[in-house]
Symmetry: C2
Subunit: 208 residues, 2 copies
């Protein structure tokens, strides 16, 4: 019943016509299942998967059954999908990846050191918050793995790929992150690469 | 059973200590119910209300029962909460309201005409999309009023308050917006005011 999803790479910024018809916002992720309509966006996809598979997953369900706990999972998922991106990874990707690509194409490729400093200061605040949560919880939103852990670890992995996570200051978070990294569902992501960036040696190391 | 919510004004940008303890992201909305934990953010609040009241609302439920339809409601809700804000109202509020307040305080208050032009060009695209949807649907996400209508109308009302919605080009949307405005739940919002801005005469007119 639970067939693995088939991943399709979409260069969303190219706004391919068939893709924009599928999702007029031209954002990712988009989930297409059988002949159903495309499910567009991380919030809709996560809720859809829970609604169509959650009950059968029992204690492996990525949204817990209680309404208060579900709200906590959604709060933290949104935190890492939206706020962490706006304050950390958005700057890092723009300054360290997109500008480098632009320089290859002959444009201005100098990263803005003020924005990089802001991102580095912001990530320390976020990692302290993860530390704070994980001091009293086994997983980010409580006693089980949820969407919050996947969203947070995915966001943090982007910064980690660029060597921008201050791990020595984030001992508690490091242990939690190592546990998420070693999940079979997460491990495959660590093989993804970005042209022109070499991740630090610990990046895909499960026991870093 | 359905007591009306008591609204509390929170100047979230002041980061009041008790408020940040309640919601460390210091964003709105936050829903507090009895002795339960605070429910933080539009996505968690809307899902929480559906989970705790939705079933009893029957055909007035703001998320429809079918998983595909729910995904469509969430896609459009996110569109107006996130994308419309990033491309339209974010610029308008910054350039027309926040900068004016800053000028009062003796700072630089000149709106950036390039950003205002971008917002005005972007809103035409968004209104065309609303027109397109409403050509084949009674409400934005289908045949019933949902969170998508409330999110879209709330976002559009911010632009309308500043006289920035090109209504003459958006006939279909205008009829839909008039229907949302006249709902009892929505009408009260139209009395809200922003210091230093006078809305256009049609703003709170239900049959504009």
């Amino acid at each position: 019943m639970m067939r693995p999803a088939e991943l399709v790479e979409e260069r969303f910024w190219e706004r391919r016509e068939d893709f924009v018809i599928m999702n007029p916002a031209a954002t990712l992720p988009v989930l297409v299942e059988n002949d159903g309509p495309p499910i567009c966006g991380a919030w809709p996809v996560s809720e859809y998967l829970d609604e169509t598979r959650g009950f059968a997953l029992a204690e492996h369900r990525l949204l817990p059954p209680n309404a208060d706990q579900r709200a906590e999972v959604r709060r933290l998922t949104e935190w890492f999908l939206v706020q962490f991106d706006a304050e950390v990874t958005g700057f890092l990707v723009e300054e360290k990846v997109i500008k480098r690509e632009r320089a290859r194409a002959g444009g201005d490729g100098a990263p803005d050191s003020g924005l990089l400093r802001a991102a580095r200061s912001n990530i320390r605040m976020h990692m302290r918050y993860v530390d704070h949560l994980i001091e009293t919880r086994r997983w980010l939103a409580g006693d089980r793995l949820t969407y919050a852990d996947l969203a947070a670890a995915a966001a943090i992995s982007v910064a980690d790929f660029m060597g921008e996570v201050p791990w020595p200051e984030a001992e508690e978070s490091k242990d939690w992150y190592a546990r998420v990294k070693s999940r079979p569902a997460f491990r495959a992501l660590l093989a993804d690469k970005v042209r022109s960036i070499t991740p630090p040696a610990h990046y895909s190391d499960l026991d870093f």
